[in-house]
């Protein structure tokens, strides 16, 4: 098992390189020399050249073949990699702040929003899915299915706009904008749950129903177990594997926050930061967030595999 874990941990290298290549390709190769974005619209060619030199944008993209073989890695992408590996994220070109500080300040507000959102959504969705599975093919189940499909068919923009307008602005039940206390999070979390729970219920219901038709359920019923015991003792436990996959893989994305909710409610989290960074071509921020995100993604995938062995003793990792 430890060999397996080490092998999986090593996969962090190709995955992060791949992710950084995408970001690099988008913002340097297609996007052009970032010096133009940093210098602004009315920059002189000398200023552009100066910034390019300072930040190394005048170097080749991947390999420096001019000074072969001594300084072959003195190129843009290898330099980027080496600084990221040392967790040196550089200084943001648009805010002039160290990116590591921006990340530190941004991830807490994001987590304040996404963690409650995620937990409430999960608990509510699993509970409703169990309810639907227990009463399958009755009107309760049908209502739940129709409501969840309806819920996922409405644009999340509409949820946010309607709730922000009526609940917050007209009826003054919640603050409209800002991040000054826990009460500022209630409405965004509520909207996030309402907008997301439909899809989750449908997903978990499918998983539960799949288990309901397995043979062990028939056996359990044949030996006289009640519906509730079957549901909680047998079905839920067996449904844990797909549920866990879904849950753990979603965890790394919690730290990037919610692009929409953070923007609408003025929560100074990473979601808002990355959107602004995309528009400003603020690569340092994007490289750092995707780098950390990729590492967390690999770790989460590994965690799911380990959790499998815990949930299902038949599974062995080799």
């Amino acid at each position: 098992m430890s060999a397996y874990i080490i092998r999986r941990l090593l996969s962090v290298i190709p995955i992060t390189i791949g992710v950084l290549l995408i970001t690099f390709f988008l913002f340097r190769v297609i996007g052009g020399n970032p010096a133009y974005r940093i210098a602004g619209k009315n920059a002189t060619p000398e200023r552009i050249a100066q910034i390019s030199k300072e930040r190394g944008y005048d170097k080749p993209y991947f390999l420096n073949l001019q000074n072969f073989p001594r300084e072959v890695f003195d190129a843009q992408f290898p330099r980027l990699l080496s600084s990221l590996v040392r967790f040196d994220f550089g200084i943001s070109a648009s805010t002039k702040q160290p990116v590591s500080r921006m990340l530190r300040e941004g991830f807490l507000p994001s987590l304040c929003l996404t963690v409650p959102l995620f937990v409430i959504d999960l608990v509510l969705a699993v509970a409703l899915a169990l309810l639907a599975a227990y009463y399958r093919d009755t009107w309760i189940d049908r209502c739940l299915v129709v409501l969840s499909v309806l819920g996922m068919s409405i644009s999340s923009l509409v949820y946010i706009m309607v709730a922000q307008y009526w609940l917050a602005s007209e009826w003054r039940l919640f603050p409209v904008w800002g991040f000054e206390g826990p009460q500022y999070l209630v409405l965004p979390v509520l909207i996030g749950v309402v907008a997301g729970v439909g899809g989750s219920v449908r997903f978990y219901r499918t998983i539960m129903l799949d288990e309901m038709y397995q043979e062990y359920v028939r056996t359990a019923r044949a030996k006289g177990l009640g519906g509730r015991t079957i549901l909680f003792r047998h079905v839920l436990r067996n449904a844990l594997i797909p549920i866990m996959t879904n849950v753990i893989v979603a965890i790394p994305f919690l730290y990037t926050g919610s692009l929409l909710l953070e923007n609408f409610f003025g929560i100074p989290g990473l979601g808002r930061m990355t959107v602004i960074a995309v528009f400003n071509g603020d690569e340092e921020v994007l490289f750092a967030t995707t780098f950390i995100g990729a590492i967390l993604f690999v770790l989460a995938n590994l965690a799911t595999d380990i959790a499998y062995t815990w949930a299902d003793p038949r599974i062995r990792l080799r």
């Binding site: 791949g18 297609i30 509409v158 893989v249 995309v278 690999v298």
Partner: protein, 317 residues
Amino acid sequence: MNDVIEQPGLWGNAWRQLRRQPLAMLCLAILVVYVGVWVYAEATFWSAKIRGVTPAYKISNYDQRNLSPSREHPLGTNFAGRDNLNQIVQGTRIAFEIGLLTSVIVIPLGFALGAVAGYFGRKVDTGVVYLYSVVDSVPGILLILAIAYVVRSAVDRSVAMQTVTRYVDSGLLAVCVGMGFTGWVGLCRLIRGEYFKHRDRQYVLAARSLGASHTAIMFRHIMPNVLHLIIINFSLRFPGLILTEAVLSYLGVGVRDEPSWGAMINDAKQRLWLGNWWELGGATLAMLFLVLALNIFGDALRDALDPKLRTAEAKTG
């Protein structure tokens, strides 16, 4: 002895099953109406393009801004005095164009990679799995946003693309490229799994022993057995595309010079405070009915064509 019993086949069976479900048939009827609206909108758009005139939905009328619903304008007018209902009709065109353009990228890419990975396995498979793990490890909407933003600015700068952007909005193109290069993952997984199952079946062994090439086996022999997955995947992916376009519009990279539903909802936001809810309501409902119908019909279609797919999809995400 030629009284062969006609077998209904996959599609015949599916159709028979769908016909028994009133809800699915209702959704199909709604979809047919939307397709009708789309064709009408496409016709008015192209006829104006060919004649070189400004289409009616783009003519501003500043004496009639933000009107309430009336007999003349059933859903009122917008900030430029354009009829909201007409905007929604054109929005239908944009929604379908997004669905089709994105699929032009998603289907070949997802299918080819999935087929190759599933059929050859081993190193090829490792490579493809690596590719989609990379795409998977970036938050979806962020990647779409970044691609769309960069592609749009590149298209706007490029002179060569001007002939294209005369007919297709550069924002629309960028959004489709963004959603296309992230959306192939789901289809690829599905096809890969299916090719895994098929590659050791007897008919494949028979074809191989008769000397069929790998390409022939992949595309002539196995492909007909998995084609229905493309249709199912499309009908279930389409609603997501429409919803994502709206989010992208809000974030500022959506369709620009054309009235997409997302753009309408965003514009309407600024006038909600004036009690002007019909613009938001109209676009929302237009979007809701299409997405809802696609969701329900797509589900029913999947259950009719491939009953096991529902859980397979749920488990692999």
